[in-house]
Amino acid sequence: MNNELTRRDFLRSSALIALGLAAPPWLAEIARADILKLAKGGKVSPDNILVVCQLSGGNDGLNTVIPWSDANYYRVRPTLAVPEDQVLKATDDLGFHPSMTAFKELYDQKQVAIVQNVGYPNPNRSHFRSMEIWQTANPDKVEAYGWLGKYLDNQAKAGSINPVVAIGLTQTTPVALKAKQVSVPCFASLADIRGLIGDPDEERRLREAQGGMADGSASTIREANLAALDAMSELNKVLQTYESKFEYNQDNFGRGFQQIAQIIATSAKTRVIYFSAGGFDTHSQQKDQHARLLQQFSDALNTFMKEMKAIGKAEKVTVLVFTEFGRRVAENNSQGTDHGSGNVLFVAGPQVEGGFIGEKPDLVNLDRGDIRWKIDFRQVYSTVLDEWMGADSATLFGKAFQHVPIF
């Protein structure tokens, strides 16, 4: 993994880009070849599926993966710290929040990689900017297209792309899925699809109403409408061919993962599914709400994994779980936590190397009260894109990032 030559090349190539100079082609080629080599013998397959689960609001990583052996944790969190005897212990230092028994079960089955101290240079503590940074994979400037959008655009270069290759289970299109060429269909709920498509004559007229050419926002609207019509006619044919036998809780996570399972079970062409759930911005009275959310998330992920196994898809699915930032190490006076930076991130699925990646969080040497980041989130994205989706992240991001041993 830690090929010294490769890393040095990476550093040189990124330094050149930082200077505004294009990397010489031979250097870029070497970096790319190394990335592909790293992926070699890996788990890339053309029908691999990536599920991205966004925890909106800034999940409190310290009360999710708990450094229970660290006295500093109990010192800075007098009311919020989880008592040592309640922590679901995973290692001699770390364990999970007591409401995450279902998650712990996956961890024990070596199905979860937990990447620690993840962040990016000059952490931004604004929800909106930090979320944008994570979704565009660019901390340096505001970008219109997302990291998955760039991946999809690159796929589209190779030829026509299926209208449901990526699906968002979101009401608005997250910038992560925004692409130059590809319009990703997003639905708040799969039930929306059945309401509109049915009569072929009416569908024809709805398409006719899109007109020929349009410019400006009208063209964006036209693309969204056509993407919706294309995705709906595609999905409408298949969605009803499978009925889940698994019971999910009726909360945002339960409903979300149930629909993700429905898509995977029926839509063979779909490779990226994006889902988000909120409520993690726990500035006050954090304890109960956070416990509830962690339980909902853990239960849903666990049931989903079971369902994937039952339908023979488990080996094809990897779930990436992220949030825009961690929270302040010390609790505030409202029994809550303010915005922070470095945090934990999860990658789940039978194909990951289960366990902890990176050091346990350092609660003493802080950056303005927050955990210092040690692993750039783009290292995780690059690993997943290259070693799971068979992409070339150095091209997509204009820069190669050292991989982390997730797979």
Binding site: S56, G57, R125, S126, H127, F128, R129, G168, T170, Q171, T172, T173, S183, V184, P185, C186, F187, A188, D192, I193, G195, L196, D201, E202, R205, L206, E208, A209, Q210, G211, G212, A214, G216, S217, A218, S219, T220, I221, R222, A224, N225, A227, A228, A231, M232, G278, D281, H283, S284, N332, N333, S334, G336, D338, H339, R368
Partner: protein
């Protein structure tokens, strides 16, 4: 442009769409008269009195007010008001000072918050900022009540800078921490009206109409940090009022607000000179809001091709004008002004559908997604929200509604439509639409396929044609621009 066309542009931006009745009325006032009437709305009558107390559910002598009822009462105002800019501005401030009932579950607090926004919507931003900052819903939303000396909570301090006044990049993390210290000691208490209103539906009607406060702001000196703070270069034993004052003194503040107002009323991503010009007007008028609105309506850029019918409608811009153009308000108004004694004890009949449609399209009143409010422009557009917009036809043209059974025959008899094409054109005109010829053909096709003018002319058979014609019209890309 004819006066009528100019008035149409003003109504789409400073009003709640251009219905035929409003076009007829404002056209007589001319462009200047229309701007005056819209902007200085406090001088003119509302045009309705809501008796919502008779509609609110009561159980065991207690009023059962929930945020959805408050939101639907607001939808009623959107439909009935003769001061359309008042509601459009209140919505702007709801977006700007976004507070969500997802956390502030107390419906009375949310009611007072909307009243605070409405009361100050076209007044002075300085006053509005102060009133909203000290509004209990805002204080609860951003944890001001637990921001106390020695243990500051940064939530409000951060957002008042990032989102309410100067915008990101015009302060440091240190400024936030210091401002949070200055803001310590803010709290609220319930007023006598709060207890009265929960027992008495009549009192609720009164509060809904007058906006009398149910909670009031108090300062708790014992919880205030009396140390010296340094905020944006100024030092002193500052309190929360000083924080607001210092923020309003920043050059970035009038610019930030002008940029946002321009994007709400004119177009996204304005040129720097447009923003600078408006910011100067804002500053010169000491944060008075009306002169800025009048200036927007005067500027060449507002009347340019880049502006007219080029802005993506938000879900309120989309749903409310259609309802007003189809006269749903007139049909519902008597129910609200003079509810029958046996009025159903459930959330407001007829408005729930519109409220839910706007929510599904991405704008749930009283429930903005987060403290940054909603994203505008093309951010309103996604496959999901567009599907919901097309399906708004099913809500408006519910086959059981009296409206639909009236609309078809009205198009045939009053407007004299003799062919499917003439009926389509009448519908397009009623909805103030400008769409491509292909879209128009699709609307004609929808009417023909559902029995044509023949079916439209009879109340009992007109619904399917209206419903599909509206679906197809709502699928036309240009229809979503205003």
């Amino acid at each position: 442009m004819t006066t009528r066309e100019q008035v149409g542009h003003l109504l789409r931006r400073f009003g709640l769409g251009a219905s035929k009745a409003e076009l007829d009325f404002y056209e007589k006032l001319g462009v200047e008269g229309t701007v005056e009437r819209l902007v200085h709305y406090e001088k003119y009558p509302l045009g309705f009195t809501l008796q919502l107390g008779k509609l609110v559910p009561v159980r065991d002598g207690r009023v059962q007010l929930n945020p959805a009822f408050v939101a639907q009462a607001w939808v009623a105002r959107f439909l009935f008001t003769e001061r359309p800019l008042e509601e459009k501005l209140t919505l702007f401030w709801h977006d700007h000072f976004a507070v969500s009932a997802s956390k502030v579950t107390n419906a009375y607090m949310m009611l007072q918050y909307v009243n605070t926004l409405r009361a100050g919507a076209n007044g002075n931003f300085r006053t509005l900022l102060e009133n909203v900052s000290k509004d209990p819903a805002m204080m609860f939303w951003l944890d001001s009540q637990t921001n106390v000396a020695g243990k500051p909570n940064e939530n409000f301090a951060r957002e008042v800078m990032e989102l309410f006044t100067v915008g990101i990049g015009h302060y440091t993390e240190k400024d936030i921490q210091e401002a949070a210290r200055a803001l310590t000691g803010w709290a609220w208490v319930p007023t006598r009206d709060f207890n009265r209103v929960r027992q008495d539906p009549e009192a609720l009607s009164e509060i809904l109409n007058t906006g009398a406060p149910l909670f009031r702001f108090v300062q708790r000196p014992g919880q205030h940090d009396n140390g010296v703070k340094t905020i944006l270069g100024q030092s002193g034993n500052f309190d929360g009022d000083d924080v607001l004052r210092i923020l309003l003194e920043q050059e970035a503040c009038p610019k930030y607000l002008s940029h946002k107002l321009w994007e709400w009323f004119a177009y996204m991503d304005p040129e720097e000179k447009v923003v600078d010009h408006l910011a100067a007007v804002f500053k010169k008028n000491d944060f008075e809001i009306k002169p800025v609105l009048e200036e927007i309506a005067k500027m060449d850029e507002f009347w340019s091709k880049k502006c007219i019918r080029r802005l993506v409608k938000n879900p309120v811009d989309f749903c409310i004008p259609i309802a007003r153009q189809l006269d749903i308000g007139t049909f519902l108004k008597p129910l609200f002004e003079n509810p029958p004694e046996d009025a159903p004890q459930r959330p407001i009949g007829g408005l729930g559908g519109i409220y839910r449609a706007m929510s599904a399209q991405g704008m749930q009143l009283l429930f903005p997604p987060d403290v940054a409010g909603w994203d505008w422009g093309e951010k309103w557009i996604s496959t999901s929200t567009m599907v919901e917009r097309i399906r708004y036809a099913d809500i408006i043209a519910n086959p059981r509604s009296i409206l639909v059974s009236d609309l078809g025959p009205a198009i045939v008899t009053q407007r004299g439509a003799k062919t499917a094409a003439e009926a389509a054109d009448a519908l397009i005109e009623i909805c103030d639409a400008q769409i491509s010829s292909q879209s128009r053909n699709a609307v004609i096709g929808a009417i023909s396929a559902n029995g044509g003018v023949e079916a439209l002319s009879r109340p009992q058979s007109s619904a399917p044609a209206i419903q599909e014609a509206l679906r197809v019209l709502f699928a036309a890309p240009e229809f979503h621009l205003c």
